[in-house]
Every structure is written in structure tokens, then in C-alpha cells.
Symmetry: D2
Subunit: 132 residues, 4 copies
Amino acid sequence: MPGRNVDPTLRDCIEDCNDCSDICLNEAMTHCLQKGGRHTAPEHMRLMLDCAGICRTAADFMLRSSAHHAPVCGVCADVCDACAESCEQLGDMDECAQMCRRCAESCRQMAGQAGKAAPKGAAAGMPAGGRA
Amino acid sequence: MPGRNVDPTLRDCIEDCNDCSDICLNEAMTHCLQKGGRHTAPEHMRLMLDCAGICRTAADFMLRSSAHHAPVCGVCADVCDACAESCEQLGDMDECAQMCRRCAESCRQMAGQAGKAAPKGAAAGMPAGGRA
Amino acid sequence: MPGRNVDPTLRDCIEDCNDCSDICLNEAMTHCLQKGGRHTAPEHMRLMLDCAGICRTAADFMLRSSAHHAPVCGVCADVCDACAESCEQLGDMDECAQMCRRCAESCRQMAGQAGKAAPKGAAAGMPAGGRA
Amino acid sequence: MPGRNVDPTLRDCIEDCNDCSDICLNEAMTHCLQKGGRHTAPEHMRLMLDCAGICRTAADFMLRSSAHHAPVCGVCADVCDACAESCEQLGDMDECAQMCRRCAESCRQMAGQAGKAAPKGAAAGMPAGGRA
């Protein structure tokens, strides 16, 4: 990703979000549609596009250096994990599942960093980023 | 909004998100850019596009009948409120501010409905939609 | 659609693009996925999301009062027509097909208006919308 | 960009569109807003977001292996060139201008390739990639 004005702490997460968004959209609209059956189950296809959409949105918040990127990254992490699980159950979508897991971790860190003023673990079960 | 397959409980919130997204993008790229000064302060312009972006994303989740729309609506409500506040401080963006407040309320209800299994007020300071 | 700063000549086309984008995304991710079979043929599903995507992009160009909206509207009209045809062949997607046809006409007018200095057909190989 | 299902002939163009979209959004919302003055002139800011938007849309068409990607790439090339010109006039946006030029060339090739089987003007009413 080019750009002298991208905050270095955001750069990796933006890249993961971009890659995850791209692979989810691509796999859904090529591999899944061509396979049919469980691959086009509404729940799976919706998750694939949910993941593509929220990853794109999270990347956009970070590209804008938005003050509100952390909660978006928090939701993004959850959707990525749900999408990874759905891919894992299908058995032939490993690359996509791995990208989702990686992006989930990256976004979860990003959501947490923004909230690190509050000492880790202080609020039990309340991860930073304003999400429970 | 047309569409026989739109869940009626989602319809109003989708419409509010669409309207809010449109007015934020439009006002930012016409009124704010033409005025300059405080209207093009990075924080304000970023919030305007943040709001346009997350509203669009929330609408898309609902249009897909996605199981994961509630947390997205929850974040959307917070961003809408922040954008409303920024518009209110400028003094000549009332229509945009009002649309943001309306969309915030609509999204907060949507986020709450999905989480209503957990009795209201049980977890202090823990609004439904899985966000604190 | 709210917004005092929306150019009145653009307002109807923005609304058609919004409605067309919404119905295509919604029908694809609910009706088509639930039906399966020909409704989830890659060509049809891709067209549905192509149409949702380009309609959204065209609306965004107009909401920004962009000088470059005409060629985007021109491409949008073609994709809408292709999507309408695909819906018509399926037989149970009339509302979506009609919305696509309506949006195609609206976008074609918009593309043509911007180029109307050059009389229709005068400049050989110069399709409306300022695209050479 | 990951993805076993991305058509190799599309891969480079997708990557250029992604990079161009990201840098335009990022520079507009950081560098330009911080500089103000000519950097926040409506025409320039609109072009920056136009470019970010159409590049994203073109990438999405290609990621879906859409049959209609060529005319979108054609319009994208024109918007990228206009954005490059606008950046060049400002004098301190070389990286962004260069990315836009590179993406314009990449998209123009993509728009041309799709139509090159049919010699120019040979198939009446069938402009290459929908654009002549």
C-alpha cells in the first residue's frame, strides 16, 4: 500500500483489511457460486459479503485517520471470525479462512490499542475499543 | 425504498441509514467545501465521511438480511451522534444534524432489538447490540 | 432523499440509483440465494451485484456534484439494462427488472444531458455521456 | 493480493486500482485537509474522492470476474487521468499523481483488451469494452 500519510501503526491493519475484503468478495463470487450447494447457502454467502463490506469500511476509517476507527475494527474482528468459521466448515476454503483469522487478529489489536489508556484487564470482559 | 424481500422491521432503519449517508456525503462535498474554514477542519470532514460510510455499511448489512447487522448498527449510532454534534457546533448544518440524530436513534433501537434476550438494564451501562 | 444542496436536476437520478442499488443487493442476497438453481448462476448473481455497485457509485458521483458523473451514469445505464434482462429471464423478479429499466432510462438521460452540446449522432462514434 | 480465483490477467489491474483508491482517499483526508487552500478546492477534493470511488468499483467488478468490467475500467482510466492532472498542478502530490497515471494506464489496457478481438468499428454498434 502506497502513501506517505498513512499512520505506520495503522498500515498493517489496513493491508489485512484490504486483502481480506478482496479475497472474500472474490471467493464468494467465483468459487462459491461455481460450487453451489452449501457454498451458496444464504448464511455463508451473506457472511462472505458482510466480511468484505466491513473490512472495506474499517480500512476506509483508517485511511481517513479517523478518530472512530477502533469500534469499527472491533466489529470487523467479530465478523471476520464468523466468516472464518463458515469457511472452515466448508473444507475447501482454507486460504480465505486463514486471511479472515489474520485480519480478525489484526483488527482486534487495533481496537485494543485505541483503548489502552484503560489498563488491560481492568474492566473484566471489557476489551478496549468500547466493545464488550 | 422498494423491495418485497426487505424485512419490515428493518425497513425504516435502512431508509434512515440511506438518507443519512446521502446527506452527509452531499453536505461535506458541497456546503462544507464551499464554506471552507471550520467546515473543512479535518475532524469535521472525517466525521462526515465516517458517518456516510458506516451508514451505508449498516444499510447493506440489513439489505442482506445479515445475522450480524446489530453490532454494525450499534457503531453506526455512535458515529451518527458524533457527526451530529460536529454539525451542531457549526451552526448552519441543522438539516444534517437532525438526520444524524434520527439515524442514531433508529440504529440504536435496531442494535437493541437484536440483543433483547438480555433483559434491559441488567448490565449497567451495557446497551444492547453488544457494545458498551 | 433529504439535502438542500442536491442539484435538482440530479435528484431524481440519485433516487433511482439508490433504489436500484438497494433492490438488487436485497433480492440477490435474499430471494436469489433462497431459490438457488438458475437464480444463483454466477452470471446472474454477478450482474445483480455489478448493478448494485455501479448504481451506488453513480449516486455518489452525483451527491458530490462531481463534474465526471455523466460517463459513470452512461456505464450504469448499460449495466442496469443487462441486469434487467437477466431478471426478466428468470420470470419472478419483475419488481427488480422494472427498477433496473427505470434506472437505466434515468441514467441514460443524465449521461446525455451532460453531452447535449454535441447533437445526437453528429460526432460519429461519440456516444452520449461524453464517452468517446 | 491473495486469491487463487483471481484471473491472472486481472490481477495487476486490481492491485493498481486498490492502491490508487487507497492513496487518493488517504491523501484527500490527511494531506489535503491539513494543507487547506487550493488543496481543499471543491474540484480537487471531489476528483480525489471520485477517483477513490471509481477505482474501488472497478476493482470490485474484476474481483467478481464480471463480464462488464471493461467499460468500468474505461471510465476509471479517464477519472484517474483527471485526478493526476489536478494533483500535478498542486506540486506536492507527486506520489498520488504517479499512482493515478499508473492506474489509468492499467485500466486503459484492461478496457482495450476486452474488446480487441473485434477490430475497431468492425462490429457495428459494438464499441470495444463499450467504449471507443
